[in-house]
């Protein structure tokens, strides 16, 4: 992985938020859609420049896979549970169970964000059971 271009102009507030323990997303000022990942227009109605918003970081597991054969740079971490989480504000993101037994999390479980250092050392959102 190369980090040369990160954060980029679209993502800088997101990663700054993570560094201060906040999960940021964007919300359309026109149609009120929650937008993730953060981008410069509303994916629903096309209105430009959605507003930044802070998520409470609580949601529900939508999908979950325990990775046994990881990419090379994650080799020493397997098995681990990769999640798709539906946040209560109405957006979905990928993340990972932050700690504990990968088998201990199931689809439908309530989860809560925590911020740990990611693979590149940057504070990154992970989830634990709520």
């Amino acid at each position: 992985m190369s980090d040369d271009e990160l954060p980029d102009p679209d993502s800088e507030p997101y990663w700054q938020g993570a560094a201060s323990g906040e999960l940021l997303y964007r919300r359309c000022g026109s149609c009120d859609a929650a937008i993730f990942y953060p981008r410069s227009l509303c994916t629903e109605c096309g209105a430009p420049d959605p507003k930044w918003a802070v998520s409470k970081g609580i949601g529900k597991v939508y999908a979950c896979s325990i990775v046994h054969r990881p990419p090379p740079s994650f080799k020493d971490q397997a098995p681990y549970a990769v999640l798709l989480v539906d946040l209560d504000e109405g957006f979905r993101m990928m993340s990972r169970l932050a700690e504990g037994d990968a088998e201990s999390i199931s689809i439908g479980d309530r989860v809560q964000v925590v911020f740990n250092d990611g693979p590149d050392g940057r504070p990154t959102p992970y989830f634990i059971p709520a």
């Binding site: 992985m1 190369s2 980090d3 271009e5 990160l6 954060p7 980029d8 679209d10 993502s11 993730f36 990942y37 939508y62 999908a63 979950c64 896979s65 325990i66 990775v67 046994h68 054969r69 990881p70 990419p71 740079s73 994650f74 971490q77 681990y80 990769v82 798709l84 979905r92 993101m93 990928m94 993340s95 990972r96 199931s106 689809i107 439908g108 990611g118 693979p119 590149d120 940057r122 990154t124």
Partner: protein, 381 residues
């Protein structure tokens, strides 16, 4: 506007498949082109349209045209993953209908097994991928595993049902001399093959081979002058929904829902009219989700649909009759082989694996991580 009978497929061929170390991505495509043109009864000098897709090189559309010595009047390098070739078929039909070309060739080649052209599998962390890359999901298998996890939880689908599809597909491969894996396979073999990313096991995943293919698409007036019976494009639809799995709205409904509906409407046929079906099988779950999205069975019932040998040579629903990406070959982007097999079935050229009296076929290509789909309906006469 319809593409119905706007073009016909006049020639198809594979290159050598499997492990082909004495080749390049370019030579494999040349190899397939020569055989496909011979199959069509046409010359290289007849070719005025070129449709290519690949994760190799810098500008594949230019590099392959140069290598072959073709200066096409119409070019298309649509790259939407393994489904690209079903997109190309629709695009070739539109170009021919518009009079932009008369003999278009769809090409693919990959030496991913023998050489290091594995760019498509590298984890990226730029742009949208920066929101997934920190979590170590292997690509593309992990994304399909997430979709499978959702289908299992939502509908009670089981690993046994997925395994049965792999077994049926292997039974077809046993009838195809060109298939890479032909030895018998059992449900227990699949279930015991070890988890890659739950719930997908190793034998839920496609092969990793070299290989190439070529498809010659011609205008109706040319089709009628050739020796072999033309295989007509009767309907085509395409749809793109996302690039990365966290952006897929409903992990149980693929873009095939939209593209399939368009293809059926254009062709003016229905599911029960079809004799043979070829569906992209990057993973067993890909097939299950595509069958449901295309409307072959209601949402949630794909597991029952594929279980117990129903799609195998002695089943009632002939599916992936060449042995599929699971057992025949899978050189990174498999979609071109769906076209090749459907054409051969409709021409009655499939020997031991021939589906009797096949006159109408559906092919459905899926690319990326359930990201893109083009579905085509083909027929003879």
């Amino acid at each position: 506007m319809s593409l119905k009978r706007a073009c016909a497929i006049a020639g198809v061929a594979e290159s050598r498949l499997g492990v082909v170390p004495d080749s390049t991505v370019l030579s494999l495509q040349a190899e397939a082109l020569v055989d496909a043109l011979a199959d069509a009864g046409l010359q290289k000098s007849d070719v005025d349209g070129l449709l290519v897709s690949g994760a190799w090189g810098r500008l594949p559309g230019l590099q392959i045209a140069e290598y072959l010595g073709i200066q096409p009047a119409y070019s298309d390098s649509t790259m939407v993953g393994g489904a690209s070739f079903e997109f190309h078929l629709g695009h070739a039909a539109a170009a021919i209908q518009a009079g932009l070309c008369k003999v278009a060739v769809i090409l693919y080649g990959s030496t991913q097994r023998s050489r290091a052209d594995k760019y498509i599998f590298q984890i990226r962390n730029d742009l949208g991928y920066q929101y997934e890359a920190p979590y170590g999901l292997p690509t593309p298998v992990g994304s399909y595993a997430l979709a499978a996890s959702r289908h299992f939880a939502q509908y009670g689908t089981t690993n046994e049902q997925l395994a049965d599809l792999a077994v049926s597909t292997r039974e077809w491969a046993a009838l195809n001399p060109k298939a890479y894996r032909r030895e018998p396979l059992t449900r227990e073999d699949v279930l015991g093959s070890g988890p890659i990313a739950t719930p997908l096991n190793k034998l839920d995943c496609c092969l990793f081979t070299d290989g190439g293919g070529a498809v010659v698409v011609v205008s109706p007036d040319i089709a009628k002058t050739l020796d072999k019976p033309p295989v007509w494009l009767l309907g085509q639809g395409e749809s793109v929904s996302h690039a990365q799995i966290s952006e897929m709205r409903d992990l149980t409904i693929t873009p095939a829902a939209k593209s399939g509906a368009r293809a059926f409407e254009m062709a003016g046929v229905t599911h029960s009219d079809l004799d043979v079906v070829e569906i992209y099988d990057s993973f067993t779950i890909t097939v299950l989700l595509t069958l449901e999205s295309l409307g072959f069975c209601p949402p949630g019932t794909g597991g029952e649909f594929i279980a117990n040998g129903r799609t195998g040579p002695s089943g009632e629903f002939p599916l992936n009759t060449n042995g599929g990406g699971l057992s025949y070959c899978h050189p990174g982007q498999y979609g071109i082989f769906l076209i090749i097999e459907a054409v051969r079935q409709l021409r009655g050229e499939c020997d031991a694996r021939q589906v009797a009296d096949a006159t109408l076929a559906l092919i459905s290509g899926t690319g990326g991580v359930l990201s893109s789909n083009s579905t085509c309906i083909l027929g003879v006469e």
